[in-house]
Symmetry: C2
Subunit: 314 residues, 2 copies
Amino acid sequence: MSPIDLNNIPIIDLDSFTHETIFKQGDKYWFFEKSEDAFPGQAFGLEINQILYHTKSQFQDILIFKSLSFGNVLVLNGIIQCTEKDEFAYQELITHLPVMSHPNPTKALVIGGGDCGVIRELIKHVELGTIESITMVEIDDMVIQLSTKFLPEMAKYHNHPKVNLIIDDGFKFLKSTQEKFDIIITDSSDPEGPAEEFFQINYFKLLLNALQKDGIVIMQSSENIWLNLSYLKNLLKKAKTIFKNVKYSQCYMPSYTSGSLGLIIATNDELKDVTKPLRKLKPSLEANLFKYYNSNIHQSSFVLPTWAQNELKN
Amino acid sequence: MSPIDLNNIPIIDLDSFTHETIFKQGDKYWFFEKSEDAFPGQAFGLEINQILYHTKSQFQDILIFKSLSFGNVLVLNGIIQCTEKDEFAYQELITHLPVMSHPNPTKALVIGGGDCGVIRELIKHVELGTIESITMVEIDDMVIQLSTKFLPEMAKYHNHPKVNLIIDDGFKFLKSTQEKFDIIITDSSDPEGPAEEFFQINYFKLLLNALQKDGIVIMQSSENIWLNLSYLKNLLKKAKTIFKNVKYSQCYMPSYTSGSLGLIIATNDELKDVTKPLRKLKPSLEANLFKYYNSNIHQSSFVLPTWAQNELKN
């Protein structure tokens, strides 16, 4: 993959730009996130100030725009990956849930995560002296390059000395690696396009194989309790055939479908209670490091409304 | 107000119907909730199957449609009030938070609540032998009439013998009433249109005046932490000048802006901790009565991300 010339990005004229997610209403242009398969009949819209970049990479359609009220927005295959306004909620929860539930996490692996937001959060634990090495395996180098330009608050640590960045298929990496990790974070896109395999039982087996005995894995489910609850139930069932201890947590933020995104957190340690932080930081330090995560948020992220809890339990 | 002939509602042809919230995209019609004042640059969209009713009442624009995936939807002045898919989340939380925090709630007042969902939830406590009388003051009788037709699972108890339904301005009612209530629920629409006064300090004074000494009031804030945090902070500040004990809770559901709606719960009893249920039902009974509310949801609804918690505390 040759590098993009980030200093010479052509200006895109919004009036002549066309994309299946973009619609003109009155004199304004709106991006609408829709999916007839994943969430038929509902849409989330953001008003566009400027198109920053559009390309079809080897793997996916990449659209980046400046929105009126959510900052810069990264869209892969028509689905919002992150917005500058609220990205910290997801990045913090998916990272600190497993790290703060582990007694001594030193080696972390990130599968996906091309916007580099998870790495930014993991580096906080490097600086605290806990995590010693981070491996990140992202299939699409273009996402990383573009994030350094358009999401500079997220993509700033992929060249950090403790980060080993590998541009490759996460599936392939897991098949061949001999390493064992304390924490594995699957920060994939949704299961259309390159991320499809990440939601299958074979993937869960590979994760378990690359995990230390007391290791913890977390993955975004691409679901929430308001969407396809039976798909989610099935995904949890699959995970439970591989891991002895599987829990479901939700992150609440406006730019994900229905205002929330489910996370599946799993370990083979039956006795571990991942719903409560095992390690605690001093409250003042915690408030300094994190904007979203705190120990109460950790616990409440696992609390579900009765109907969803009953459905997922069965 | 003469009754609407609910048995002879004319069929509306979607192709020739126009409304500022409705747009055609491809061969489909979508409703988009937008507000340049309240939440500029973001929109929530629902695909429309059928327009069920549209009118401008004496007070507001009323639009009811059948959506593809959220059931029937009630829209007032362009803002979603409820959808059949997820209404239970809001109705349950705004009702059971105060009722389950009160040692002995017998008299309840609802201001607004024309869809009658809050009454449905209060009737559960009538049947449990706790609440003895419910007064509901709704300004727009048309909303009630139309809800009986198009939201039949919500609007079914306004003629219940324990319900005293008053068609009037809630503000006017509170000014003249001599009654004192244990629970007051303000289920208003957003502060544009007839509900504007419900977000002012004079309204809070009237609420306090109509409240028993140990009474609890709850009101929807029309805000959430992701929207206008400084407006929300200001609203809480106003409430704190009148009530000694003010807390902020969030309900998470897809059809409200940003996927959440804030509730302000207040009492003049300094020692009362409304963040934990004071009364508990047997878990099996609780699970039978409620789909959303449970005692863990009660507590976690008050848990906020660090940045929002700090902002609202100051």
